[in-house]
Subunit: 353 residues, 4 copies
């Protein structure tokens, strides 16, 4: 209720700060009888973990998930699934340089104002480290929805945009490069670009696109819990996200109805898919696709002025090991959140049948 | 739970179809002791109602709200507030032309698949008529949050975009024209354009922008219920919305961290506001601003081919009185949903103090 | 969220005060395709309504339910069901005698303290009048669960207790008398007793027992949302209820395990049913049965001393038309709440299959 | 949502089976800034743990709680509090004797039917072992509500009843004996009795009574979430509970209104307290008191017949280390659940002020 749970029936609740002993989560509402591939869950975590390539943070964390309950002899029991991921890299840093200061465009200031004080060791709860728990839960959701395919990829880094619809891309190439862009030529340029940005101690934003295939017709609960509204909330809840659009998106707002309407084929599919697989908040069986905009990481390896708790100007210098661009590591997070949304609506839809 | 409730503490639950006897809603969680201006609530409804100007649907509905409970001697009592809006314009149309057919880019097909059949008189529950209840609740939320200002306006109609930040606009001009665009010159062009589109029986999309001023620091409940994530869900739950972005939005994804970071002033405000008034999912006291993309209305006054329930091709002709462009009437709906989100987080935040 | 909703998937939200223009409710989550017998719903309301017999309040209210949505051509559509019950008997009483005073064992004092003031016209929201909405929703739940039988009856009035298990009673006789006690001899004594109590301007408490037959195995969601825990909450939420016990109940606490355990038959049924049809919070297919204790109505037609808002002693005299004993009219309310609980768990259980 | 969460704002979600590696929980919604005494939390767990005295199960479990998040430098941070309790006593028993059989009055049969199979090592999720997590969360709730006193005690074991109201007992004596009965003479008799019952391999039920002092006026959210309704649900959700009554309870149903009404003193307190500290579902500032009935433990150290999965009769013999009577160990669980309910309503009530 206080913001650490996601979903109604397939519900994930999480805890954990960047510098505590462990992160963890509970999945409540996972049906019984699902045979889980635990290695596949760990594989998803590995796609998100720090230190996996030369263009992401060089911090080392094994991010090993341990399950405590809800799985018996490899199969879900229908009871709540508890898991933890231990933080092995909580160095006893000296945090005095950030303890009393507010880093620009971080959550330091607002956490202090909201809660009265904050865990000043790194980002605390506001660190994107918590998304590891989302990836665990999303991996289980994916296994529950074994017929449905979730494919996210990087479609933009800074000004470099992949101006092709997903239908013209070879999505099997996503994992062929460390940027996770299916156009390998573009991927190579993006990689070079990210390295340049990092070399300046700067960061850059980007866009993750996602396609969901084989979603059954009927998922989504209007009028408020429309399928795309929950997808939007799910994506916007990921750290650093600034925007969400699905189907024709913002460009669709410039179109005429006569262009935008998706005419039916006789089997109920549509000739075009400006709707992005969702009509009136309910999946129509066509591919669901959407874009998620990420801002540049706020931590720069540069000197800058900011204020401390007393409002005095202080000079700080970013240090540590940070991502110059979050989108390559955001790809599995976007997929995980998409899977959580679909899993939840899949269960909600059962009440009608 | 089944999608007809919005909010956790300040919670709206609604019902009603376009052609039933009445729409209605219940607000549960409105604190006691709020003196309500009932005329101001009706005024908001009037901003949304059909027939209000020459560029919106010419259907006539008085949309009069009647309160049944929760208000005593003009003051909220803390008990649930029930209200209804009677449908006075449910003509006994002949619906045979749409009864067995699926209109393209409408919810006809998915409702039929999800629920087994549908109320075929107009859009039924999928009609944007239900947003009238949102406007009532939003108007009460606004009165509860009397210090906070919600200003939405039209910033795009088709390809015509108001390429100015809200800070360069005179927001007192929004209601000075029927488009609800604060740039009166642009408003005039948009009005002409909408009329042209309508004269062809076509429709066009658009963009509504919104600014929220004077939000206290501290609203939002990370990690999942971030303030902008709920705002995004709220906006995406409005009929015809395809995208949401706040602060720097999609453009922010092309920026460098060194450009995007909002440096602090010594009073905790920031020199720039790419963050859009929200850091880490929590309001920071700066203006919140966001854009909402609306697709073109699907109902065209044109002849078109589609399919019926048996999958046979049929020729239909759109008729009736429809909006050529939804954004002018969407302005109060965007404000209402924004007010509901802020009201809910305002109450949630009380538990920390 | 603020206490006016019941249920998770089959969810009822209500509003309305004793002296407002109308009561009403919204059922969200009722599956589509249920053919409703609207007369049967009104019949349930008639079992609860005032003025129905010589031992209940003589106030006259037709309590006619009107549906506004969610039902099309007599069948549920899967969208939210809105309904209202107009208050036709809101006489413009003079309430000065209670406006500033706190009646003993009423909610006057606590409403004033909690909300800052109260609707002093009768009980306002704290009046049992709100249970009319529960009966409407319960009647729909019963129709959804057409194979399940809900039978409540009066088993105690004051010291007069029906010391027989339900298995020795002829439950078809419940509606044969105005007390709603299936033992007609006892019913006759209870009726005489209630009239005596009323003639003294006094009131008396009682017990309602309830049996639910044909509940499928598997309903209930441990560890917190056990079937009997929700039944208990449902019953305790009814005005004037002081206790709830199921199966062996309080007497079971005095038994040995060797007596209390229910041995299995080879078909999974049990030889005894001390469990009351629920094991570990989940229905086991046997009859569910429970008792609900109601305190005596607080409004006496007698003179008494109490205090006013300033804490001064005042003399008041109860007047009006009140129930001398609530249990006869509570019978349909107990059934309705039981049906809401079972309907909700029935839908929740679908996610496992 | 699937039954493993309790509370709306102060919300506990738990996981864990009797024979898994660990139990755990997440408290979401605990306000920031509460200085926690971690030893006091462990002390509460020690009151519940097995092996603590000669009349409870002799199984040895240290039940040590470890916190993973939400507490920084001994103070709550406002973020979710994660904790685990490792199972150190998961002997690799041979469970073949119960794997395919259904023990009478256990949850074996219903879990199998509901979920398709079960974790057959001991009770799995249906074991009362999960209540350890409730005690941890309840201990934190108690510290948040430092002015409010929660005092539970054993008032009945089998036929031995403590027929005195709590006002005539010395509640400081509760922990002076292993039965946790404040009347030490009665405690001694109960202890002897429990030992006798155990010597026969039998078990016996009992009653736990509880008093809550210093609850502020105004807690509780009618009409459905009445304070006593949530207390009732909380208690009924504890393993083996069969009944709940508060204030005058079942006896109150035999009283006249003229006896039962609680007349006011001029300061708003009442001369009697049949209401049990709650009027209309809202605390009135008087002591809250209630009784909770527990059935006898189902596991007997005796030979008995039951059925297996195929419905064949099998002979089993209870073994292991079980409680002959649960009520002494249930005392801290009842207090914990009471504290969770009050904490939640305490936070909910903040929205009105």
């Amino acid at each position: 209720m206080a913001g650490n749970s996601f979903g109604k029936l397939f519900q994930l609740t999480t805890y954990g700060e960047s510098h505590g002993p462990a992160l963890g989560g509970i999945i409540d509402g996972c049906p019984s009888g699902i045979k889980l591939d635990l290695d596949a869950i760990q594989d998803e975590l590995n796609r998100r973990k720090p230190g996996q390539s030369s263009i992401v943070t060089q911090r080392k964390e094994p991010d090993t998930v341990k399950f405590h309950s809800g799985i018996f002899e490899g199969v879900t029991t229908g009871t709540s699934i508890g898991f933890i991921i231990e933080n092995t890299n909580q160095k006893s840093h000296d945090y005095t340089h950030i303890k009393d200061s507010y880093r620009p465009s971080h959550a330091d200031y607002v956490y202090d104002k909201k809660y009265g004080f904050r865990d000043y060791r790194g980002g605390g709860r506001s660190s994107a480290r918590e998304t590891a728990c989302r990836v665990v839960a999303g991996a289980i959701a994916k296994q529950m929805l074994s017929n449905i395919e979730f494919k996210a990829y990087v479609s933009g880094v800074g000004n470099m945009k992949l101006n092709k619809p997903y239908t013209e891309l070879d999505l099997t190439k996503i994992e062929s490069n460390i940027v996770r862009c299916p156009d390998t030529e573009m991927a190579s340029k993006m990689e070079t670009y990210i390295k340049e940005v990092r070399s300046k101690g700067d960061t850059v934003g980007g866009i993750v696109s996602c396609v969901i295939k084989n979603v059954p017709v009927g998922l989504g609960e209007p009028v408020f819990d429309k399928l795309h509204a929950e997808l939007g909330k799910a994506m916007l809840s990921i750290n650093a996200v600034k925007g969400f659009e699905y189907g024709s998106g913002f460009e669709g707002s410039a179109m005429y109805g006569s262009e935008h309407n998706d005419a039916f084929n006789t089997d109920g599919t549509t000739k075009t898919n400006h709707s992005g697989g969702i009509q009136g908040g309910i999946s129509n069986g066509m591919d669901i696709y959407f874009n998620v905009a990420f801002k540049p990481v706020a931590t720069l390896i540069q000197e800058y002025e900011t204020i401390d708790k007393e409002g005095k100007v202080v000079v700080m210098h970013g240090k540590g090991r940070h991502d110059p661009c979050v989108v390559p590591r955001a790809v599995p997070i976007v997929e995980a959140m998409a899977a959580l949304v679909i899993a939840d609506f899949y269960l909600q839809n059962k009440m009608y049948h």
